[in-house]
């Protein structure tokens, strides 16, 4: 069993002395070459070196509370050092010993230093007065070690004289002999007379002399709490001594070293002894049984010294060629998180810890599992069975499967009672009733069921060191160079990622991402391993946990850090000691410390939340963070810039120079211009000009050139843009400046031949001037020049003649002087808007679910097992029929950059109008009613048209106007000012700009009461009014705000009822018209009466319809039909009088079962009635429908206006009402 875990190793000269710093990760090492090293063993760096001793240094100690180091060497000197980096130096040297100094030590509370020497004395020094205050004599050979008792006034020493002595130094404390200054002088002197020694002896006396070793004793120390002493000697034996008030005796010996034992220590916490010797071994012994537990062997190096950390499970051993720092046992507690509960092992007990309540309960003892000295290594939890599998590394790897008790019992169950064991290095649950066990030696993975019998054996495709849960039916196999996602069922590799050996695997809450952690790297992969990113840490990575937003929080030896899925990472906080993260909830990290005690760390997640929001383009959250946090500094700006978001960074920066840089980078010319004005330096203008030129904004280019007086470029720009008038101005400027070159250029650009000639003449370039004039046909001018030059035609005979120049400045095809190149408008940035509109009132924290809502779906798969057997019930959405799809997405389009910044200039800074509440309403709602209330009639109509196929809006005008009118109210708080328009909200408790919605002007209830009014009209035979009312109801229903599925259902019922009544009433009205206008058309009359009874009416109204039909049919002598209607009437249980009439009618029908008039009415085949022709559409015949009411029509009416509601286009596609609640 190789439980000794080396944490740090250094190569150096022989190490003879070692001392741990009590709080910092520092270790002092005294070297045989005279150097004293100070190592940071956690970071693995040499912090400091102290090199003033001549010859080997053997003794070293660090002060328990102050930054002091004491060393003693073969130069007889004891030196005390200040180890603070800023003033590291030797504070003083204690002289007095007459031979090599072997060990030194600080007293735990007094300002004393104890030292022992080959001069056979032990000396105690006062480090304040720097005097020797006691010399303990009695040993008759080299004193090899001397140690204070950790609490009492005792000293234990070991000597080559084969004895261990215990000294009582209580006299020193009572009356310091030094007070009188009596024995002074030792500090400087080489050694007083032997007489002086006697003086000291009165204060320190030998209490016990422990004899038993057969050779010289190298080391002896007190037990920290028990009255025990341990000694290590050249007789290869470690002896344990017990002492009482009056005597001390040998208890036992530990034999096993086969050469001199250099040192032996009590374990600070456990009942263990650790020893080392010249046989090149470090050994661990059981203090109670005095048996060897383990041995750590080194190939070539003899061990000389051991040191134990006072608080941590850390030891250091010095050997011939350096030192090692090691742990005896793993500290990482075995744990597993399920939802809000942590299952973990402490002191060989499985415990559960509830993150919410903090309840920490012991559930199961695993004391008898594996070696008693070794804690379990891993724990895998199965929620379905409430079982755990533990593994332990002792006995070459064991696992044990045990059920946890349902509740904590008084008597904690021991796993040995019903635990199922086996051997294997790695064991985990892979399904609710299966677990996998890895046997490293045979390289086999066995899948076992809960009764521990093998159901499947897998030969892993790679040399596997450890297995992890890999998602449903998968394993993650960790090999030395890669990590493999392996499908158990198909027995094949799904994916493989190269990685250093993966030690821990942590799945994200939703099981979508997995963190594969090795010593120095974390690989974040998705669940198929198809994408992954790698983080490298120089410091050892300890543990990690997923935040519920998909951020991985991990701990290294000294930091808690975060990592985003794309690989960005950063520090959250620093740690004094490593912790093992178990769960991240909001701002709290739950973790286990080194002694496996649950604790929490609160941290500020702002930085990574911001970065995450940035990655996800969640501007609202970013804005919220910007407003509420103060974190944003240079680092965030740099981050934004580096990540390609300069335009966002621009919003945070005040500094003009930085703003300019950012503005140039993101091409925001306005800001760049603004800032350039403020900075007003030539180089800024140049850069602005370059950038503006790139973007084709030549107006800004022009300004920039003007600012820098860059005349040449300016002229050329004017030429390029065809700005002739400006070019001529440039000419004048050039004239004024008297720069001939510039004048020439400008004349050339402007096509001003005369100008050019005059420049040439002015500078005396007569030949050129002459030729220019000549070639441009200006003969007279040419003559003049010739004359001016004092020549005649004859003189220039030899000059060849050139044809007339046809060069002209290019004509302006399209005038671009006033136009910039069109650029895609960046639009109004979210931040511009949000920061400008200043709706600060309701800066709502965006829903950032972490730990609260999406509770530990981490084990979603496990949960799934837990409810494996439950039948999955598909919730059938009621509204399926009328497509309540939330097609909110479509409405985003409507937002657009609604308001152009036309007014801004007028108003000046600070008074830019903000966003109107009505705009927010439009933005926040996909409901037409809300758009109407906001006065956005156009979008409202588009919505109605899209949702219900409404095309004829004229009828809706009163509804629109009254809703709009009812959604705004006015109040004048200030005398003589126009009233404020106030907007009435649906939910007065909601004031966040992203959630406000207008008041619902009409409730479903009020519309339903209107419907009831329509019913009354029907009963009262006011059919025209009824028809109008039903139409109005249907119109009103279009603009109702619904808040729940139940309401939506009721709404649909109301629509259907209104439609049926409208249809019925319309049929009856038509029947009356027919009866009136075409009295001969009995057939139609009868048909319509029959159809009326087919509408879905309430029983009282159905009675009316039926009675009307009975009457009409009876009158037409269609007795059979009339009887049918009468039977239907009876089913409705009308009052007795009507019953009697109906029975008569039935009787009449029975007597005479025939129909005089043949009508198109087949009551036995289901049919719908066309709302336009009032003729039946039998089931199976083609029909088209009203997109709103679903009323049926004959196919030929597709595309026509629905005659019932008179609102919609028949057969138009419609999205249905969006479910906005």
């Amino acid at each position: 069993m190789s439980v000794m875990l080396t944490k740090f190793e250094s190569k150096s000269n022989r190490v003879k002395g070692l001392a741990f710093h009590p709080t910092q990760p520092l270790l002092a090492a005294a070297l045989h070459n005279g150097s004293v090293q100070l190592w940071n063993y956690r970071m693995g760096v040499l912090v400091d070196r102290f090199e003033e001793h001549e010859g080997p240094v053997r003794g070293v100690a660090i002060h328990p509370s102050r930054a002091l180091l004491v060393t003693g060497g073969d130069d007889y000197k004891i030196k005390v050092w200040d180890i603070r980096p800023q003033n590291r130096r030797c504070l003083f040297t204690l002289h007095g010993h007459l031979d090599y100094v072997r060990t030194v030590q600080f007293h735990h509370e007094m300002p004393w230093i104890i030292s022992c020497s080959d001069d056979q004395t032990i000396r105690i020094w006062n480090s304040t007065s720097r005097n020797c205050i006691a010399v303990l004599t009695g040993h008759s050979h080299y004193v090899m070690s001397a140690q204070f008792h950790p609490k009492e006034d005792l000293v234990v020493s070991a000597s080559m004289d084969q004895t261990v002595r215990v000294w009582d130094i209580s006299g020193l404390r009572k009356g310091s002999p030094n007070a009188g200054g009596g024995p002074g002088g030792h500090a400087g002197g080489g050694g007083g007379g032997s007489g002086a020694f006697e003086t000291f002896d009165s204060f320190s006396t030998v209490k016990y002399v422990l004899e038993g070793h057969d050779r010289g004793v190298n080391y002896a120390m007190f037990h920290p709490t028990l009255p025990l002493i341990i000694s290590a000697a050249d007789d290869r034996v470690i002896k344990i001594w017990r002492m009482s008030e009056t005597k001390a005796w040998e208890v036992d010996s530990c034999r096993g070293h086969f050469n001199n034992v250099s040192s032996a220590l009590f374990h600070p916490k456990h009942e263990l002894i650790v020893s080392c010797g010249e046989d090149k071994t470090v050994r661990v012994w059981d203090l109670a049984k005095r048996t060897a537990i383990q041995t750590f062997r080194r190939e070539h190096d003899r061990f000389w010294i051991l040191a134990a950390h006072p608080n941590l499970n850390l030891f250091a051993a010095g050997h011939d060629s350096g030192l090692i720092v090691f742990k005896l046992e793993r500290e990482r507690p075995a744990f597993s998180v399920h939802q809000d509960t942590l299952y973990y092992v402490r002191d060989k007990y499985v415990r559960s810890y509830d993150f919410n309540t903090g309840a920490d309960i012991g559930l199961l003892s695993v004391r008898k599992f594996g070696s008693p000295y070794v804690p379990p290594r891993t724990l895998s939890f199965n929620p379905a069975e409430r079982a755990v599998i533990l593994t332990i590394s002792s006995d070459n790897g064991l696992y044990e499967l045990t059920n946890l008790p349902q509740q904590a019992q008084g008597d904690v169950k021991d796993s040995s009672v019903d635990g199922k064991k086996g051997s294997g290095q790695s064991a985990i649950f892979v399904a609710r009733n299966r677990f996998a066990v890895l046997n490293k030696a045979t390289q086999l993975i066995e899948v076992r069921d809960l009764s521990n019998s093998v159901v499947k054996t897998i030969k892993p495709p790679v040399q596997t060191n450890e297995i992890f849960y890999g998602g449903t039916a998968c394993l993650i196999l960790s090999s030395t160079t890669s990590v493999v996602l392996y499908d158990i069922q198909q027995q094949k590799t799904i994916a493989e990622i190269n990685s250093p050996p993966v030690k821990y695997v942590i799945w994200s809450g939703d099981g979508a991402l997995v963190a594969l952690m090795s010593k120095h790297t974390i690989t974040i992969a998705n669940k198929t391993f198809s994408t992954h990113s790698l983080i490298h840490e120089t410091i050892r990575i300890k543990s990690g946990a997923w935040d519920d937003a998909g951020v991985f929080i991990y701990s290294t030896l000294n930091h808690v850090k975060y990592c985003l899925s794309q690989g960005d990472h950063g520090v959250i906080c620093t740690l004094d000691n490593p912790v093992y993260l178990t769960r991240v909830k909001g701002k709290t990290v739950h973790c286990l410390d080194r002694s496996a005690r649950p604790r929490t760390i609160t941290f500020d997640p702002t930085e990574y939340r911001f970065k995450l929001a940035l990655l996800r383009n969640n501007y609202e959250e970013m804005l919220y963070i910007i407003r509420t946090s103060t974190l944003l500094g240079q680092s965030i700006i740099a981050y934004l810039q580096q990540k390609g978001f300069p335009e966002i960074a621009l919003h945070f920066v005040q500094d003009t120079n930085t703003r300019f840089e950012l503005a140039i980078e993101c091409g925001n010319l306005e800001v760049a211009m603004e800032t350039a004005k403020a900075i007003d330096r030539a180089e800024c203008w140049d850069r602005l000009a370059q950038q503006a030129l790139k973007q084709g904004n030549h107006k800004i280019v022009e300004k920039a050139y003007q600012q820098t007086k860059n005349f040449d470029k300016l002229s050329f720009l004017y030429l390029a843009t065809g700005s002739t008038d400006k070019l001529s101005k440039m000419q004048k400027i050039a004239d004024a400046r008297g720069d001939p070159m510039s004048r020439f250029h400008n004349a050339l650009y402007a096509g001003d031949v005369q100008g050019r000639i005059s420049v040439l003449r002015d500078v005396g370039l007569h030949p050129l001037a002459y030729l220019t004039a000549k070639t441009n046909g200006l003969d007279e001018l040419a003559e003049e020049i010739l004359e001016a030059a004092g020549l005649t035609e004859a003189d220039i005979d030899d000059v060849p003649t050139f044809p007339a120049s046809s060069l002209k400045p290019p004509p302006i095809v399209t005038s671009t002087t006033t136009m910039n190149w069109p650029a895609i408008s960046a639009g109004e940035n979210f931040f511009d808007r949000a920061l400008a509109e200043g709706n600060l009132e309701g800066g709502v924290e965006p829903a950032y679910v972490n730990g609260d809502a999406a509770v530990g779906a981490a084990h979603s798969a496990l949960d799934a097992w837990a409810k494996d057997e439950e039948i999955h019930v598909e919730v059938d959405p009621e509204e399926g029929g009328w497509e309540l799809d939330a097609d909110g997405g479509d409405f985003e389009v409507n937002e657009g950059p609604a308001e152009e910044a036309v007014e801004e200039e007028e108003l000046g800074a600070g008074a830019t109008p903000g966003i109107r509440e009505t705009e927010l309403w439009v933005r926040n709602s996909p409901l037409a009613a809300d758009h109407v209330a906001a006065g956005s009639f156009e979008t409202a109509m588009q919505l109605l048209s899209r949702q219900f196929g409404v095309v004829n809006f004229a009828l809706l005008k009163p509804t629109f106007v009254s809703i709009y009118r009812s959604s705004h109210t006015y109040l004048t708080p200030v005398a003589s000012l126009p009233p404020l328009q106030l907007h009435i909200r649906r939910n007065p408790a909601e004031s966040a700009p992203s959630r406000v919605l207008p008041v619902a002007a009409r409730s479903l209830q009020s519309v339903r009461s209107e419907l009831a009014e329509g019913y009354r009209f029907v009963s009262g035979n006011k059919l025209a009014e009824a028809q109008a009312t039903f139409r109005s109801v249907l119109a009103a229903l279009l603009l109702i705000v619904l808040t729940s599925d139940d309401e939506a259902k009721l709404w649909r019922e109301t629509v259907t009822a209104a439609r049926e009544y409208l249809l019925g009433v319309s049929i009856e009205l038509e029947r009356r018209r027919v009866a009136e206008a075409e009295p001969d058309n009995v057939r139609r009359n009868l048909e319509l009466a029959a159809y009326f009874t087919q509408c879905e009416l309430q029983p009282p109204h159905m009675q009316i319809a039926l009675r009307s039909a009975i009457g009409v049919f009876a009158k037409a002598n269609n007795q059979a039909h009339a009887a049918r209607f009468a039977k239907r009437l009876l089913e409705l249980k009308p009052d007795p009088k009507i019953v009697a009439q109906a029975r008569q009618r039935i009787a009449a029908g029975d007597r005479n079962p025939r129909n005089a008039v043949e009508v198109s009415y087949d009551e036995f085949t289901p049919f719908e009635i066309c709302g336009a022709t009032y003729t039946p559409i039998y089931k199976g015949s083609p029909s088209v429908h009203c997109p709103y009411t679903d009323a049926s029509f004959l196919p030929q009416f597709k595309g026509s206006l629905d005659p019932l509601t008179q609102l919609t286009e028949i057969g138009a596609p419609a999205a249905g009402l969006p479910a906005s609640w």
Partner: protein, 312 residues
């Protein structure tokens, strides 16, 4: 510190009890409170849209800048009622001159009067839509609460409750717990709807219980607040009571129209009330806005092609 009568008058003015102020008997012309009282009375007249009375009240020969400013405001309001463009410009010019005059070192008048000039000028500019000028005249760093109130009103009217809030927060530092400050806070609350209008609502309720004054305006304000709180029936009762105290008050009626539309009255009654309101107050912003929307509706509706009616 103002005398108690003057304090009382100011309170009434702030809370909109203009009618009471108008009927107030002026103190003795030599009393120190005479001019301030006169000014409040004149401003009450203007607030009641009765600038003529204000002009009658104000002496034309006064050297007092505040009196002059009040007269100019009255002229402005009167001119804007008649839509007399020249007169409007003239009165605005007068106010501009006054505003410039008080900036001078040798100007007459004490600080309070100067502040009042700024408030009156700012009011006129704001009415005329010259928001920037108004803000500049009032001075966004002013320490005059009345000016702050006007500024806040302007900010609110351009949908910048954040700036309004800033002004309020700034004023809190020096204005202690002035009644006007509370009113400012409650007005901001009306627009932002913070905490479900609770602050605004309790402020008005508290002022209704104030024994030293009665103003139907407060009732109306609470009615409006209650509309905003979706307490329509309660709102209606406030508004009815307010109307009983001041028959035909425009603002109250306007609020009642809205409440009626939200179910306080039956549909037909609501329509009737609306029709009456439209005919009586064709200039009210609600009427103007709604009639704009009506034409907007026609315009939008015309974009949809209405297919022929399906008929047999």
């Amino acid at each position: 510190m103002d005398s108690s009568e003057l304090y009382h008058i100011k309170q009434q003015f702030v809370l909109g009890a203009y009618k009471t102020l108008v009927n107030l008997t002026l103190p003795d012309p030599n009393a120190p409170t005479y001019t301030p009282t006169l000014l409040y009375q004149a401003r009450a007249h203007i607030a009641l849209d009765n600038p003529k009375s204000a002009l009658e009240l104000l002496p034309t020969d006064s050297e007092n800048v505040a009196v002059k400013a009040a007269a100019s405001l009255a002229k402005y309001v009167s001119a804007s009622q008649g839509a007399d463009k020249d007169a409007i410009d003239a009165s605005l010019e007068e106010l501009r001159d006054l505003a410039v005059e008080i900036e001078g070192d040798d100007s007459e008048g004490n600080e309070e009067e100067k502040a009042l000039v700024r408030v009156l000028a700012g009011t006129a500019f704001a009415r005329a839509g010259e928001i920037e000028e108004a803000l500049e005249t009032l001075g966004v760093d002013t320490e005059d609460l009345e000016a702050v109130f006007v500024i806040v009103h302007i900010y609110l009217s351009i949908n910048r409750p954040d700036l309004a809030k800033k002004q309020f927060e700034r004023s809190k530092r020096w204005a202690e717990d002035d009644l006007l400050l509370q009113l400012i806070e409650s007005t901001i609350g009306l627009v932002t709807g913070k905490d479900g209008y609770s602050n605004t609502s309790s402020f008005y309720t508290e002022q209704l219980g104030n024994p030293s004054l009665t103003s139907p305006h407060i009732l109306t304000a609470r009615g409006v607040t209650r509309i905003l709180k979706n307490e329509i029936q309660e709102a209606k009762s406030d508004l009815d009571e307010s109307l009983a105290q001041q028959k035909g008050d425009t603002e109250t009626t306007a609020a009642l129209v809205v409440a009626a539309g939200l179910g306080a009255l039956k549909k037909t009654e609501a329509e009737e009330l609306w029709t009456r309101f439209v005919s009586e107050h064709p200039e009210h912003p609600l009427v103007v806005d709604v009639s704009n929307k009506e034409s907007h509706f026609d315009e939008c509706a015309s974009k949809f092609e209405v297919p022929p009616l399906a008929s047999a």
